[in-house]
């Protein structure tokens, strides 16, 4: 298979776009497409400060790389989860530092969960055997990312890709999690003074495209999966969607984009009418002040508060 733009052999074939490109042209295509998505979905302007949540994985490091190549003022945020199993956290932070060696003038903010809140994610998970570690970790990360973005007065950018979004959508549709469906979008505006604006500039790229970008750019990312993610629900749903994609080219992309379009038009998903908070009452957490739909404490503060009470 040849590159669409030159006679060289293709490095990647994007079947959903009927587009095959060589390494050089693919490395031009990715930032150009990212810029197109940033503008189309009105994510942020050229002068705005961006905080990229980086984990050391392919998606977040590639996003940081693309945003820097596009000339954005993008600094990194690394959340040290304290996952020492298989050296996961130390290896992932090392990958972030290695990435930064090749960049000039980039800054990284590091927040240690254990240092700030007293317990690492594995410790927290051990205390709550009934809860999935990934959900717990997601809750903690979202809280810290929001806090950090507010502190930096920046827009929070995450490396979520199309496969992530489609897998979450499938899961939410299967169980009709309307609250989650309401909040699933490539841009989450700041609907409250204590809620940072969140964007996902890579949300239209397939995961394989981002992996290809990382390989072709020579980005050394953490390849091994988080030890707690083994058997994670998201991975299972991604597998199902990939089987669908194998049979029907572009199925994942259509699934997610059709959801966004339907919601925008207020058609079959009228009850999920487009907008950040329609149907949701946002109050403020009594303890941290971040927005919450729950009365009293937000989910994050309840997480720590219960255990504090038990200790006493």
């Amino acid at each position: 298979m040849r590159c669409r733009k030159c006679p060289r052999p293709a490095a990647i074939n994007m079947r959903q776009h009927k587009l095959a490109l060589c390494g050089e042209h693919f490395l031009e295509w990715m930032p150009a497409q990212t810029q197109r998505f940033i503008e189309k979905y009105e994510m942020f302007g050229p002068k705005e400060a961006i905080l990229v949540a980086v984990s050391g994985g392919k998606d977040s490091l590639s996003l940081w790389d693309v945003l820097l190549r596009l000339g954005y003022e993008a600094q990194g945020l690394y959340i040290d989860l304290g996952i020492w199993e298989e050296g996961y956290s130390s290896n992932s932070l090392a990958k972030v530092h290695k990435f930064m060696e090749k960049k000039e003038g980039v800054r990284l903010k590091v927040v240690g969960v254990k240092e700030v809140y007293g317990k690492s994610i594995p410790q927290l998970a051990r205390e709550r055997p009934g809860q999935k570690t990934c959900s717990l970790c997601g809750l903690v990360k979202r809280h810290i990312m929001n806090e950090a973005a507010l502190e930096e007065r920046a827009i929070l950018a995450t490396g979520h890709n199309l496969d992530d979004e489609a897998a979450v959508l499938l899961q939410n549709v299967l169980y009709w999690q309307t609250g989650y469906l309401l909040r699933q979008a490539p841009v989450l505006p700041s609907a409250h003074p204590r809620l940072a604006r969140k964007v996902k500039p890579f949300f239209r790229f397939y995961e394989r495209e981002i992996a290809a970008y990382a390989i072709l750019r020579g980005i050394d990312y953490i390849y091994e999966e988080c030890p707690f993610a083994t058997g994670a629900t998201t991975i299972f749903y991604k597998g199902l969607l990939n089987r669908l994609e194998e049979r029907s080219r572009g199925a994942k992309l259509h699934f997610y984009l059709s959801f966004l379009r339907a919601r925008e038009k207020g058609l079959s998903l009228r009850m999920l009418s487009f907008g950040p908070n329609q149907g949701l009452e946002l109050g403020e957490c009594e303890r941290c002040g971040q927005p919450t739909t729950a009365p009293g404490l937000c989910a994050f503060c309840r997480l720590w508060k219960v255990k504090e009470a038990e200790v006493r």
């Binding site: 392919k58 998606d59 970790c137 979202r142 979520h160 995961e207 394989r208 999966e225």
Partner: protein, 67 residues
């Protein structure tokens, strides 16, 4: 040809496309990228006996709620 995926290795005989090789070792072609002799290639390339092929997993997971 030698096929490497994470900590596993297979030796497959004869010429075949990378896509067929991926299926032969029981993996999903949508979930891996093919690096042949250090070069990223599309899965329609014909692999030869002397090739060393690394299959790169592209799927990562985690938080299953809204992100």
């Amino acid at each position: 040809m030698k096929i490497i995926y994470r900590d596993k290795e297979w030796e497959l005989p004869g010429r075949m496309t990378a896509r067929d090789a991926i299926k032969k070792v029981g993996l999903d072609p949508e979930a891996v990228l093919v690096v042949r002799n250090g070069q990223l290639v599309t899965d329609d390339v014909i692999l030869r006996d002397e090739d060393e092929v690394k299959l790169i997993a592209v799927v990562s997971g985690g938080d299953g709620e809204v992100s």
